[in-house]
């Protein structure tokens, strides 16, 4: 009896110690206001999200420390173009959305941005995954990733369970599953948004990035848009051609999808699509739209998001920044804005925001939503940070367009490879 008691005690104490250890990281992050709590002011955030409820949740949480601070999010029409004008206006925002490609295209986004790595700001950038922090040539960090995304496929688990199938983890398994589903009467084993792009983007682009990752020569050539660099796309385009040739995709049905967000989700919630190629951005809208879908409400099913298996080894976790926050260095409430950023840039808050929006957190300590759980199972070598890849936006667009041409049967692989650098 004594022994048993001792054993139980040891186990309980051990668990307590372990749990204390686990909580330690977040405990260290406890936010301590540095300004007077009675500080009043207004923080305006602008972006291209028509809705940003996850951020509004953060506003509420920040207001617990600073009840007199008003935080406001505003959607800007034609954001990418208007942001530079807005930043120059009297009503310039305090925080604005940025992405690496936008910053590259729009110098104003960079010029107005504050260096968030400034030690005096005490913003805990160390909680962000290294591959997601972009430093400018001066070593400044003008954008902090808030959400990241990836590419893959939404899977209707109920269909797989019904048909006795396992979710494919390799390309061959994908082919096998699609074959069986097709045989089972599923007209569209796979669907995706195809307008002006490739519905198989989630399949071939991570494959392409995986192929060139670490190949500096290839990246230099691609960035230089050298015609010969088109060859670097061949493997991925072959993949597209092979997949399309098997008849698993009904292009007409895919072309009916009006956009890569609402329409894709709505169609997926119809419940008859086993796999829907999409991005994490699309996944972020699923939860909210469940109740908006009469089909889903009537016949709910379990679904999850998985890497698209493009090789025999599996798929890739291609991690790109979805949105980042930059602080307007000319903000009228700069101290308050920096205080909010200090509050926001923490593992707990960013993970919470990601969970609320069903996006992928930029934090090292990833707390992935259940829907992304299979991405957590991938090996470290399968994770590719696009920003670290060094691929410029122009070759990126060329590859996308080439993929779309092949996917839609408008070009052969050879033609697409040959046309690299010439796509408009």
């Amino acid at each position: 009896m004594k022994k048993l008691f001792c054993v139980v005690l040891v186990i309980v104490l051990s668990l307590a110690v372990v749990s204390c250890g686990k909580g330690g990281e977040e405990n260290k992050e406890v936010f301590t206001p540095s300004l007077d709590k009675e500080t009043a002011g207004e923080i305006n955030v602008v972006g291209h999200y028509s809705n940003f409820e996850a951020l509004e949740e953060e506003f509420n949480r920040f207001a617990e420390y600073y009840p007199n601070v008003v935080l406001k999010y505003t959607y800007l029409d034609n954001y990418k173009k208007i942001i530079s004008t807005t930043l120059a206006s009297d009503n310039a925002p305090d925080i604005y959305f940025t992405t690496p490609s936008w910053v590259a295209e729009n110098s104003a986004m960079y010029e107005y941005a504050e260096d968030l790595s400034e030690p005096a700001l005490k913003i805990n950038l160390s909680c962000i995954r290294d591959g997601l922090l972009n430093k400018d040539p001066n070593g400044n960090i003008t954008m902090v990733p808030i959400y990241t995304t990836t590419y893959g496929m939404l899977v209707n688990e109920n269909i797989f369970a019904k048909e006795g199938l396992s979710i494919p983890k390799t390309y061959n398994e994908l082919i096998d599953v699609c074959t069986k589903l097709k045989a089972a009467g599923y007209e569209n084993p796979v669907m995706g948004y195809s307008n002006n792009t490739s519905l198989l983007y989630s399949l071939f682009f991570p494959h392409f990035c995986g192929a060139i990752s670490g190949n500096e020569a290839a990246i230099l050539a691609l960035n230089a848009l050298e015609p010969s660099a088109g060859e670097y796309m061949r493997g991925s385009l072959d993949l597209v051609a092979d997949f399309m040739s098997r008849g698993f995709v009904n292009l007409e049905n895919c072309n009916e999808l009006k956009n890569d967000y609402d329409a894709v989700i709505k169609r997926f919630f119809e419940g008859d699509i086993p796999m829907m190629f999409s991005s994490g951005n699309t996944v972020s809208g699923t939860e909210k739209r469940e109740i908006q879908s009469e089909s889903f409400v009537a016949n709910p099913f379990k679904y999850s998001f998985h890497p698209a298996p493009s090789t025999d080894q599996g798929g890739f976790f291609l991690n790109t920044i979805s949105i980042g926050f930059s602080v307007n260095k000319n903000s009228k409430n700069l101290d308050l804005t920096n205080e909010f950023m200090r509050f926001l840039i923490s593992t707990s808050e960013l993970n919470l925001m990601a969970q609320n929006k069903r996006m992928v957190t930029p934090c090292k300590n990833m707390k992935l939503d259940e829907i992304y759980s299979s991405f957590g199972e991938l090996s470290e070598s399968s994770i590719i940070y696009v920003s670290n890849l060094g691929l410029a936006d122009a070759p990126d667009q060329q590859v996308r367009k080439a993929g779309a041409q092949v996917t839609n049967g408008l070009m052969t692989v050879d033609e697409a490879v040959a046309k690299f650098g010439q796509f408009e």
């Binding site: 028509s50 809705n51 509420n60 807005t86």
Partner: protein, 873 residues
Amino acid sequence: MVYCIVVSGRKRLPQGPDRASVFNREGESLRRKMLSLLNIFIITGILIFVAVYSRIDHENAYYNQVDSFENMTVALENITQNYLEGEQGICDVWARYINNRHMTLEEATLFIRESHVLKNTSSHLIYSDTMRGLSTRSVSTAPDEYEVDYRNVDIIGDGKWIADISQAINISRAYTNPMNGEQSLAFINRITVYDETSGTDREAYLLRIVPISDLEEKWAFPQSEFKNAEISVINANGDYIIKGGSFKSSNFFEFYKSYNQISNTDLQDLKESTSGETGSFVMKDSRDNLCVIAHTPVRVTNGWVMLNYIQRSSLDSKTENWILIGVITVGLLFLLAVNTVYMRLFNKKLQQMAKEAESANKAKTVFLSTMSHDIRTPMNAIIGMTTIAEKKIDDPKTVSESLHKISMASNHLLTLINDILDISKVESGNLSLNPIPFSIVESIENLVNISQPMIKEKMIDFDVRIDHVEKEYLYADNIRLNQIYINILSNAIKYTQAGGRICVDLREEESTDPGSVRLTFIVADNGMGMSPEFMKVMYQPFLRQTDSRVNSIQGTGLGLAITKSMVDLMHGTIDCQSELGKGTTFTITIDLPVADKQPDSFELGPIDILVVDDDPVLIETATDTIESLGASAEKAGSGPEALEIIRSRQKTGKNYDIVIVDWKMAGMDGVETAKQIRSEFGNSVPILLVSAYDWSEIETSLPDIGINGFISKPLFRSTLYEKINEILGVEAGAIESEDDYADLAGTNVLVAEDNEINWEIIHTLLEMYGIGSERAENGSVCVEKLNAAREDEFDLVFMDIQMPVMNGIDATKAIRKFENRRIAQIPIIAMTADAFSENISECLNAGMNGHIAKPVDIKIVIREIRKIKEKKQ
């Protein structure tokens, strides 16, 4: 019935009065609980009423605030409508002008630029097909750039919703002005401009742009209580046109759904009610706070709704006066507590009073029963003995014995009646004292004599010890004083078992009052004693100790009450020490004035006296008394010791002049000692036998024993002085005797008495004392006789009260009104059976000089006559 069966099945209930008492107690308990419940119910009711009333009042105030908020929203909608109509009107005027003038886009832009007055507003003119055109103001970051592009700013859509000029207000959603990045609204008109390139007219849109920040300034709530309100305007889909800070999401209904549980059906209803009518609803905002949303359709728009947000707490006018409720609650609870405590105390007191009343009633019932018995017993003797005397009228001895027994029974009956009268006086507070000079010696002797028969009957060891009583004549109401002493002593005798012991001590001490002495009278017995509980209430009337041993003893339960009252009246103290089964000691201490009259000084001269007594106290007091008389006293604690002392003294050739021996001594008693003295020393020394007992049984054998005389305890100075002198052949100092009635001779009394027998009695009694009397049959005759009498014909009047024709009171009043003042002032003494205090007061108030209760005690009558004669002299 069922109840009785159930109860009897579980617990046997007492029967008879006890059973009723149990039910009464249970009923009382039930009533008390019901009353408590009623109190709690009423208080709870009041509190609920106050809380509900306050709540309703608060809710009414809240709803009034909500109404006010709604009204304010409607007022703002009116302002908005006017504003929108005004803005649209400007746009209409411009559009109409442009259309009429057949302008190119550039000309129209120039015209509007020149027409602009307001600094913050601008206008955009864009071709409907390309959605590009010109702005009246340049790009904020490029002063020369006037081209505007709406291709990626979808605020017009297909444009079909835009009504013709002046037909409606065409207003866009809130959008980002592509020229300056500001959130703005646009009033839109479709216009036609001339295209110089094609030489044809082209459709275009004229947009009058108003920054939302300008509108927000205009939409401030004027009332201070709504200063925290926020305004939003949504379109028919719920998308914000204007978005207040607390409104979240891009669509109001999305916002609602995000923070409030609502079904799709209810959401649809909410949409319809919001867009269709003015009203309000409550919802949770993003901070989980309850807020009130007042809504009203903006009439001039196509489905716009003005939504005003305010936190619900801001509309709470705080009319709920919790302090008031708290104070009322605490007050009521305090009152309840006070009332409960007070009622409990009051009930307890009432219960106690009821118990006392019940006890007193019970005591009275017992008392009446006892009285009935006690009255019937002597009455039986009186009637029975009277019958015997009548039957044996020829047998003088039997008649004499019967008369003696009738007399004794009558006296007992009188005592009972006197007790009743006394307690009546005590209860009415009319007990008064009639002080006169009296002899304490006589009083004590009388006390001993009265007690003798009972003491003898119960074979009680009785002693009376007198210590330093030097002042024999005192001034007090001796009748009341005797009554006190008799009551205490008779109680001791009654409650001491046969063969027990009673000791009476009388002590004279110095008083703090000048001219007074302090008499301490102690009666100690070893009787049954009293319980502490009874001692607490023993002075209350009609109460007797509940004891099986006591119940067999006759008593009225009035003695101690009367005694205490009398002691109090005499400003004395009465103390009692008692222990159940061990005995009782009463100590009465009274300061009494010393009377002027004192006996002549007692002086025995140089004689030697031997005092023999086994009681050390008594022997001590006796020797002290003897020595105070100037004689020499020696002490012997027993008979053999006395013999030895006498023997020793004779050896010296001397002898005692007198030997005083106590009768009842342990071992050799007084008689045996006397015999031994006579046997050994002859008859030369006189022997006095001392006793507190009746010596009649040995009186006849005195000469044989050789005892020269008896002396009764207590041994007062005067008693000793007289007896010793008597034995030694010296005449004692004369003490005034009351047996000489010569002073009464020639006294003539008018007796107003309607009853023939009573008249005969008083007449005969007075005659025995040489007092003449004349009868008046009623008050009227009495008045007439006095009216006709000579001034000195009557010395006084004995006036019965209840008489026919004229009662004694009226007669007295009439006499007092006589013109002849001498006759009018004749002493009138009430002689009546109306013996209660109020009767006495009535008599005195009518002008009488005194009151004698029937049956008359001739001694009292004589005393009254003497008093009157003394005054007269």
